[in-house]
Symmetry: C2
DNA sequence: CTCTTTGCAAAGCGTTTGCAGGCCC
DNA sequence: GGGCCTGCAAACGCTTTGCAAAGAG
């Protein structure tokens, strides 16, 4: 479990600050049910509902920052906007199977993919943040659908 | 090699048309050196230079169509715009290691990832279009960089 | 001859940014 | 106290869309 203190330490280490907003956002993602991911706007709404209004720009800045720190994963499901979820280590780390027509997504796990990702980054001297296998496909329902495109 | 005829057949099968623009765009991607990928705008410029001007909207419509047909792959390198490349089958199929700071990308191949993708789609009855492992990381140079964020 | 596709220009929309005030360390 | 961070509103830039004309089958 990644704590606020760990976040603070990591931020301060780079000359940055731990703010209430950043702490709140971290908490939200940690309490999200497994497999649930949020867009910036969904996060904005959720925070508003729970009585912690945070401006959209701060949200955008924070999720980007946390993604680059490896705390969140940025998911691109080709819907025109990004989704975010907490970046869980093994054995919670997972990947996505996505229907390009209806955007239905199914999660799945794979130790070997994670291993390959880790090894590949290492081999080139990269510092790994996240590795995700995205399978773009058409789900059974959409295969049968008559709707064009 | 995916021919114009194959494209025509596949389009007509769905009641669509093979147009000069679509044929030209397919050809461009087929002649691109391995590992090279284009954004919509880059493709637009390239076509212009080679004397085949095609409007940006047609380009957007075409790359989206071909991605959904599984002919092109849509690559998201988090630069705010998508890149496209021809979707090669085994053994040309590859994945990307991306630096989230400078966007440098390194390609790598992996039979096992492709197998896992194929199997996973199959298991859920999905029709596979593309599977890509994206490794988000920080490259050696950027790790050393003093520039914030 | 019908229905798809193109090109143009305008609209759309998620995301970024400049700036003044506020806050963390 | 200094510099980072927030919130607001405006700007941005990639992508999509409406529409009339052109073209494929």
């Amino acid at each position: 479990m990644y704590t606020s203190n760990a976040l603070k330490a990591e931020l301060n280490d780079k000359g940055w600050r731990l703010t209430p907003q950043r702490e709140t956002i971290l908490t939200v993602f940690q309490n999200l049910p497994e497999g649930k991911h949020l867009s910036a706007e969904e996060l904005h709404d959720l925070l508003h509902e729970q009585g912690d209004p945070i401006s959209l720009s701060t949200i955008y800045r924070t999720v980007k920052l946390m993604s680059r720190m490896g705390i969140l994963r940025e998911l691109e499901f080709a819907e025109g906007h990004k989704h975010y979820e907490i970046n869980q280590p093994y054995p919670y780390h997972h990947h996505h199977l996505i229907c390009v027509k209806c955007n239905k997504t199914i999660e799945f796990k794979s130790d070997s993919v994670l291993k390959i990702g880790t090894k590949t980054a290492q081999k080139s001297g990269f510092h790994l943040l996240d590795c995700q296998l995205s399978i773009h496909a058409i789900c059974p329902q959409c295969q049968r659908s008559i709707v064009p495109n």
